[in-house]
Amino acid sequence: MTPAPSLWRLFWVFLVMGATSIGGGVVGYLRSGLVTRERWLDDPAFVELLSISQTLPGLNATNMAILVGDRLRGARGAALAALGMCLPGASLMTAAAFVYGSGGDSPLAKAFLHGIAAGAVGLVTMVLVQLGAKTLRELADYVLAAATAVLVAFMGVPVPYALIGVGAVAIWWHGRRRQRNTGDPK
């Protein structure tokens, strides 16, 4: 692996990834940028940091930027990598709000936006199916996921209550199974 990059170089590489990773799938862009092109990480290190990113709350892409930035250049590296990752998309979306404010009410713009909203539901459903296939392993997982969705989407239960309530049951369930399967004391 190459020696640690300068802070400026770190910021620049994440800024380029933040500007070019269009259409989701940001993990693929991260891997080709960090492992293949810059060689800042090898594949096992990349997979390890990715699994931390996906376990913790927060966006996967910014979590990865923070972990990689910290590993290469400490706290300042983490901050600059996350900033670089977000700056292009956030600037575009800020600009979009101003454009929307001046022209979003025209019938054609509304028709276009209604169309892409429907398309986005298709995209998010695909993300849901992929996440579910990777995450849900047994019947209990499906029941817990369905219970969370029913509580939040149909019964109007605030998300924190659902998260803590169902989450506690889910953690207890998996902890109990683990203990029974391995005989491992807590």
Binding site: M17, A19, I52, L56, P57, G58, L59, A61, T62, N63, L67, A82, M85, C86, L87, P88, G89, A90, M93, T94, A96, A97, Y100, L108, K110, A111, F112, L113, H114, G115, I116, A117, A118, G119, V121, G122, L123, V124, T125, M126, V127, L128, T135, L136, D141, Y142, L144, A147, T148, A149, V152, V159, P160, A162, L163, V166, G167, V169, A170, H174
Partner: protein
Amino acid sequence: MKQLAEIGGVFAYLSLLTVGGGMAAFPELKELTVDVHHWLTFPELLHYYSLGQLAPGPNMMMVASVGAHVAGIAGAAVALIAFLLPTGVLTFAVGRVWNRLADWPWRAPIQLGLGAVSVGLVLAGVIIMGRGALTNVVYVAIAAAVFGLLMLTKINPAWPIIASGAVGIVVHLFG
């Protein structure tokens, strides 16, 4: 000033709900920005969310749009920073002690348990989005077509979403 503080509070809170990705925060994002604070309408929120799918970078940069919609550039900056900072600090801290957590016996149960709940939150987000966006059979067909295409091919999602917008215009002009 009071409004910026409110924006900061809302997005810092939403930040902590993004378990398993940004979509998990969508139900509460809708509740707080549309129903509680009336910063924007539900269709406007859906439009920003969908435009956000076309923007590069992390998938929830639309929080900057909501901030800008309410309070201009300052609102965008506050929303973005508030949305990134709480989980960012957590990730930074956990990243440094991760190796010590590796042998913690509750790590696997927490990971598996929260994984199932986060899938449920994303499902709730899809249902709530669908209620707003799939207003008639044409839009259901658009969503189904995009879903099928993305499941069966490796096409960049930006293209079918732009095509969905074009179909929306055609439906408006000739429907």
